[in-house]
């Protein structure tokens, strides 16, 4: 079997109220919409595109963070890697536009029955959160776009994590 982008790649824009391209202003975190990964995705690449900030700030950056939750409308917490470090980073947006990529494995495999680490992979719902930071400038703003790029598994959906037996 040949793999090809049309059949073997899942692309999901990270939207905010269904709008994909965001103009980040101020300093507050902008929460992306929840993305349900229970559709048979095996692994994900996060892609974040950040343009050069407008408004001539003397410094500008966008911090991105991956958050997760067991329910769509629940309280999202930082998705952490195997060291306990929050998955995310800061992107300099003062002088150059940038494309940032990050690997996310273990989709739907977080063991929610555990109360201590190691938990394993990710919870069912993921979202990308972007936070701009500016120094000076006149109404500085940064255009951004983020997306989940997934690869499907073997066609079988993973069981949804519940507190009862999946068997």
């Amino acid at each position: 079997m040949r793999f090809n982008p049309y059949d073997d790649v899942i692309v999901q824009p990270s939207t905010v109220s269904s709008v994909a391209i965001q103009s980040l202003t101020g300093s507050s975190a902008v929460n992306g919409d929840a993305y349900d990964t229970s559709i048979g995705i095996e692994s994900i690449v996060i892609h974040i595109r950040t343009e050069i900030a407008s408004g001539s700030p003397s410094a500008a950056s966008v911090a991105w963070a991956l958050q997760e939750c067991a329910t769509s409308g629940g309280t999202y917490t930082a998705a952490t890697d195997n060291t306990g470090t929050a998955i995310g980073g800061t992107i300099n947006t003062k002088t150059v536009a940038a494309d940032t990529f990050a690997r996310v494995e273990g989709i739907m495999l977080k063991n929610t029955n555990l109360t201590a680490s190691p938990y394993g992979g990710r919870l069912r719902y993921l979202r990308i959160v972007l936070t701009p930071t500016y120094t000076g400038g006149t109404s500085p703003a940064t255009l951004t776009y983020a997306e989940f790029i997934g690869s499907p598994g073997n066609g079988l959906q993973l069981p949804v994590r519940t507190t009862v037996s999946n068997t």
Partner: protein
Amino acid sequence: MSDETNVEAGSETSGETAAVDTAQVDTTSTDTSATETAPADTDASADAGGAADETSVKVGDSCVCPDGRTGTVHSYDEGFVCIPNVDQG
């Protein structure tokens, strides 16, 4: 992704410009979210993946991620989280 950088087994972050962050993003297996993250310039501490448990932590403070990278404290729905910085120098 021509300049992909493998950080450790099963994890990578890559970028197409020099400004792209090189955060480690391994999520393949274990998760040690209980590890403490101590802001570098305060006595307070914050869970890397959770809310700060000290009132002296504030947005913009420097912090150290559990993997040793320097970061900056950001505020989210869950509370304060240490996000790795671009410049680790």
